[in-house]
């Protein structure tokens, strides 16, 4: 892991920590009254604050996962560092695309 990867890994974790709490609180509170999918969409449509927060969450998760997965592949699977980086960041990129698409879909 290089200095930049280390820093990005920590910063993305700092960003994600409050967003995980927000996400858990949101889903727990949302299902309290037994919300249907349609009712949830009613609340998320046009909610740009939620969209921004979840887009930030997705970006942070994609960065964090890419670096972390590359490290796991290099240390646990014995993969060459550069190959591990390619696989890790490709997976991070996939998460980024799928995550942003999901956020866009409910916005």
């Amino acid at each position: 892991m290089t200095a930049n990867e280390f820093l990005l890994q920590r910063l993305s974790a700092v960003v994600m920590a409050p967003l995980v709490v927000m996400h858990l609180l949101t889903i727990i509170l949302a299902v309290q009254g037994g919300l249907s999918g349609e009712e949830i969409l009613e609340r998320t449509r046009g909610n740009w604050l939620m969209g921004t927060l979840y887009a930030t969450f997705v970006i942070a998760a994609a960065v964090h996962t890419g670096i972390g997965l590359a490290n796991i592949l290099a240390e646990w699977a014995g993969m060459a560092r550069q190959s591990a980086r390619i696989v890790g960041h490709a997976f991070g990129g996939l998460l980024l695309v799928l995550g942003l698409r999901a956020v866009w879909a409910v916005l």
């Binding site: 892991m1 290089t2 200095a3 930049n4 990867e5 280390f6 820093l7 920590r10 290099a74 240390e75 646990w76 560092r81």
Partner: protein, 310 residues
């Protein structure tokens, strides 16, 4: 310190000790069992020496000073890397048995002797295993951090090899010690941090204890980074950029998982984990400062461009 764990009351020559010793070479080996008598204050190295002198003359092992100074005799004792000359048998034998193997994470030459080359290559070089083009091209920590400042001019040749840290000789006209040198005191926190890190005896115990060294072939290990931390805190060597370059590459300080195995195993009680955390902290600060300065210079160039276009 391990020897302090031992009881002062020990039977003399009365109890048999079963010692399983790893025998073999680079291609593999097996454990061979020897029965030897115990004695008062018997160290693990004493036990191995007794086996070699009285039972198995072909047993290969390495030692030198026998007093915990040289760092030559480290081996794996009952699964834990230790300096054998200062480890009392009574402190580590479980049920009258010892199992002694060569140090982990290092190539085996024969029996209990490991090839320390990878350890010292990493200790003196930067981040990549020897033999790689990048490692050969990269100047080592030795050259980049510890070497005294190069002098030019008429006094250059006589200056080579002079240890300025101890020599009271007059400095050459073009060399002036940094002000920090004269200001450093033993109470200075940086000086204390440097002092602690310089106590390393290069026994390789931390390197053998580290699971990250075992998992990541690029990782230079706790001893090399501990040394870099000493240099970082040394007022006489203010070239932080060179140290930063050396420890922030792949396999540098950011590879450490802070398991603390190095600190737990270090026979003289050093804490390389703490030094590595210090390197992570300082290099992260430096990176953030670099980003901040880049932003400032970008903003400054934008402003001057706007001013010029008016």
């Amino acid at each position: 310190v391990l020897h302090s764990e031992a009881s002062a009351e020990e039977p003399v020559g009365s109890t048999a000790l079963s010692v399983k010793v790893w025998r073999g070479g680079p291609d593999g080996g097996r454990l061979q069992t020897f029965e030897i008598p115990t004695s008062a204050n018997q160290t693990v190295l004493d036990a191995i020496s007794l086996i070699q002198r009285q039972k198995e003359p072909s047993l290969a092992y390495r030692f030198s000073c026998r007093v915990g100074m040289c760092g030559s005799c480290a081996m794996t004792v009952n699964g834990v890397p230790r300096w054998t000359c200062r480890t009392l048998v009574s402190a580590v034998n479980h049920g009258g048995t010892l199992e002694i193997r060569p140090l982990r994470n290092l190539p085996i030459i024969r029996d209990l002797v490991t090839d320390m080359t990878p350890f010292f290559e990493r200790w003196t070089a930067t981040t990549l295993p020897s033999g790689s083009a990048a490692a050969d091209a990269a100047p080592g920590l030795e050259d980049r951090i510890i070497a005294p400042p190069k002098r030019s001019g008429a006094n250059a040749s006589e200056a080579d090899g002079v240890d300025r840290t101890t020599s009271p000789a007059q400095p050459a006209p073009e060399y002036a010690p940094p002000p920090a040198l004269s200001n450093a005191t033993l109470e200075d926190p940086d000086r204390r941090a440097a002092n602690e890190a310089t106590e390393c005896i290069n026994c390789g115990v931390c390197y053998a204890a580290c699971d990250v060294v075992a998992a990541d072939r690029d990782y230079i290990g706790p001893a090399a980074l501990n040394r870099a931390w000493a240099a970082w805190n040394d007022h006489r060597r203010p070239d932080h950029k060179a140290i930063e370059d050396a420890v922030t590459r792949t396999g540098g300080c950011h590879t450490c998982h802070t398991h603390g195995a190095c600190a737990a195993a270090c026979p003289i009680g050093l804490n390389p984990s703490s030094g590595i955390a210090g390197l992570k902290r300082e290099t992260s600060r430096s990176t953030l400062r670099g980003i901040w300065n880049l932003g400032l210079s970008f903003a400054g160039s934008e402003r001057s461009a706007q001013g010029g276009s008016r």
